[in-house]
């Protein structure tokens, strides 16, 4: 799976979860940039990503994900 495909799938998950089709992800984006992105939504995003890419994150993988870029890199590493 290409980086672009991962990016688009993750962006689609963000759009669905936050019910906002105008969201355009950047690698630098953090929870501060999306109003409803709190710790509860963080887990919702991660569960959706796990499902989408058929992967299972370990505690170590997800306990420190500072921004969208870190999420994308994590997915890339898991599906590689």
């Amino acid at each position: 799976m290409s980086e672009q495909e991962i990016f688009e799938s993750v962006q689609e998950i963000f759009r669905t979860v936050f019910d906002d089709d105008s969201i355009v992800l950047t690698r630098e984006m953090t929870a501060d940039d999306i109003e409803d992105w709190d710790s509860l939504e963080q887990i919702n995003l991660l569960v959706a990503i796990e499902k989408k890419f058929s992967v299972k994150f370990k505690l170590d993988d997800v306990k420190n994900l500072p921004n969208v870029g870190a999420m994308l890199d994590l997915v890339k590493r898991m599906v590689a």
Binding site: I13, T16, V17, F18, D19, S39, L40, I43, N44, V47, A48, K51, F57, K58, L59, V62, K63
Partner: protein
């Protein structure tokens, strides 16, 4: 098909909760209810998803969420905020993670027993404190632990965690069965159904303190919502069943009754046979069984004449075997037994038939078809018939509806409706609310939608508070006729102030509409008011989508219309001028 219909995709619900909520809030006729959730662990998404299921049942919740992990403190030492919120329902979200002091193998048997008592005392105190809010309280059982120090012995040894939790669950069950207004949400069963390894996720616990793994939160919420909608009278009442390849294998019109697959001698036959057995058990709960089949009547009925058929022809109330569209047959069935189409669940193996019914009768629930071997689970897990109370009348319900169909058949032979009513040889027992009838009265209040002037709901505690109250005039009605006992089918509640009695509630089961019980109830209610020195009775009609039937009932009984608006019509009666109306029913008044 709604995303919330069983079997739902939990992951999709979690992702689409915002757009779903937006759509569901548009639905007309939502009833507002206040729901307090007390926390034993993170609530967050539980509140959000519970809201979706409740909205889908027509209930718009307003939530109170207790402090994180503070269920005990919030309940036992309420700072006044919970009481001020006045919850209609209270859900205590606890799990095994709220057990503080599990025994260890070095404990003596006595020490382990003392720990069990101490632990239970804490939960019992919290539950008891919840009871004082006077609303239904939903409590969880505990999920089994994910590890067992002693292996299987853990379930046997008093120092074992599995044993400890099993004992606590037994105490919760006893508590719930002995205390009115308490209901169990069987978390232990759900956890077992989905598997402990799935139900609980260590990382989600460490990261977010979710005691239920995110992906099973929809299942948890579905279960809680089923209890709430059941308590609000929103259970389904009956099934409409297809026959060929649904209740037996094969087409009976082609292969005859002996040719269809039903016996317990083949795997397929066994599956159909057990499904029929399950339906028979549902019938014993008072669920009404009906048939809608594209068949000739005689051929369709012949299947149930087989000796090894668990269901017999007489187990069904309405039996429609013809070539009309099924949606029309379902509508006719609803009309004949006088229930709303949305109280019915349709079961058919043919996806085209299911789709037509979905299109034509959007209120009817359409069960997912999962092969004969999957149908018990499909109906059972959807929670259509979630039982929160079980009264003696429930078990008799099929019989009562059957008698009603017999009455309808008799009616056609009489010149006038009054002659018909007289032929029924009816007697009514009318009396003030009392303890033996309280449970049935509460149940009737909370499930009656058509003959219901105000659609006000009462909890068991509220009904009990009315018994013997000098500020209330209450009346229940039982009706018996030559076909049998209809049971307790009507209730009225009036509140008295300054010589005026306002009718807060008047309900009647749809089984007995237009049998003159309306008139007999009003006669007796007025008589009781007059005996208390009441001069005026005020009746109110609050319109809903379902109670148009009784819009003018007060006007037909000598009341004067005082005001009328979209929200409410008010009627008034001068007690002294009231004329007795019932001349058909024999009445026994219980003092």
């Amino acid at each position: 098909m709604s995303l919330l219909d069983y079997p739902f995709d939990g992951a999709a619900l979690l992702q689409k909760k915002r757009s779903l909520r937006r759509e569901l809030l548009q639905r007309p006729g939502l009833v507002e209810k206040k729901i307090a959730i007390l926390s034993g662990s993170t609530i967050g998404e539980i509140k959000n998803i519970l809201e979706l299921f409740l909205l889908d049942h027509g209930i718009k919740p307003e939530f109170y969420v207790g402090g994180y992990g503070l269920f005990y403190e919030n309940l036992v030492f309420d700072d006044g905020s919970l009481a001020a919120f006045k919850p209609d329902f209270l859900y205590i979200h606890t799990s095994r993670k709220n057990i503080k002091d599990l025994p260890v193998p070095s404990d003596s048997a006595e020490a382990a027993a003392a720990k069990l008592d101490a632990e239970w005392a804490r939960f019992e105190a919290a539950f008891t404190a919840a009871g004082r809010f006077g609303c239904p309280v939903i409590v969880n059982s505990f999920d089994a632990p994910t590890h067992r120090l002693m292996g299987s012995r853990d379930a046997v040894d008093p120092r074992g965690g599995v044993h400890f939790i099993n004992e606590l669950n037994a105490r919760i069950a006893t508590f719930v069965s002995k205390n009115d207004g308490f209901y169990l949400n069987d978390l232990a069963y759900l956890a077992a159904r989905f598997g402990l390894d799935n139900w609980f996720s260590e990382s989600e616990w460490y990261l977010y303190k979710y005691a239920v793994s995110m992906q099973y939160i929809p299942e948890l919420c579905h279960s809680i919502a089923n209890i709430i909608k059941s308590l609000l009278g929103k259970n389904k009442k009956g099934l409409v069943l297809d026959l060929d390849n649904t209740l037996w294998g094969g087409v009976i019109g082609e292969v005859g009754p002996e040719g269809v697959e039903l016996s317990t001698e083949t795997p397929g036959g066994m599956a159909y046979s057990e499904f029929q057995q399950y339906l028979k058990e549902l019938e014993s709960l008072g669920i009404l069984l009906n048939v809608a089949s594209k068949n000739e009547q005689a051929a369709a009925e012949s299947g149930f004449a087989r000796e090894d058929s668990p269901l017999k022809r007489e187990d069904f109330l309405c039996f429609k075997a013809n070539w009309e569209p099924k949606s029309e047959n379902i509508a006719k069935i609803a009309q004949e037994i006088n229930i709303l189409p949305e109280s019915l669940v349709f079961v058919d193996d043919n996806p085209a038939e299911r789709e037509i019914v979905r299109q034509q009768l959007p209120g009817v629930a359409v069960a997912a078809f999962d092969g004969p071997e999957g149908m018990i689970a499909s109906l059972d897990r959807a929670g259509y018939f979630e039982v929160t109370t079980l009264s003696a009348d429930d078990a008799k319900r099929n019989e009562m509806y059957r008698q009603n169909l017999a009455r309808a058949a008799v009616q056609q032979n009489f010149g006038s409706y009054d002659d018909y009513l007289r032929s029924l040889e009816m007697t009514a027992e009318l009396g003030a609310f009392d303890q033996p009838h309280a449970e049935r009265i509460t149940q009737l209040i909370n499930k009656t939608n058509q003959f219901n002037l105000t659609t006000r709901r009462y909890t068991a505690q509220e009904v009990e508070a009315l018994i013997g109250s000098p500020a209330a005039v209450t009346l229940y009605g039982r009706l018996t006729d030559k076909f049998g006992d209809n049971g307790l089918v009507s209730a009225m509640i009036g509140s008295v102030e300054d010589g005026v009695c306002t009718v807060d509630l008047w309900i009647m089961s749809c089984r007995v509409f237009k049998r003159n019980l309306e008139q007999a109830m009003m006669d007796e209610f007025v008589r009781r008011c007059a005996a208390c020195g009441i001069r005026k009775i005020v009746g109110r009609y609050l319109p809903t989508a379902k109670n148009l039937l009784v819009k003018e009932i007060y006007a037909t009984m000598g009341f004067e219309k005082v005001s009328e608006s979209d929200a409410e019509t008010v009627f008034s009666l001068d007690v002294a001028a009231y004329q007795q109306q019932n001349h058909i029913l024999a009445v026994t008044a219980k003092e």
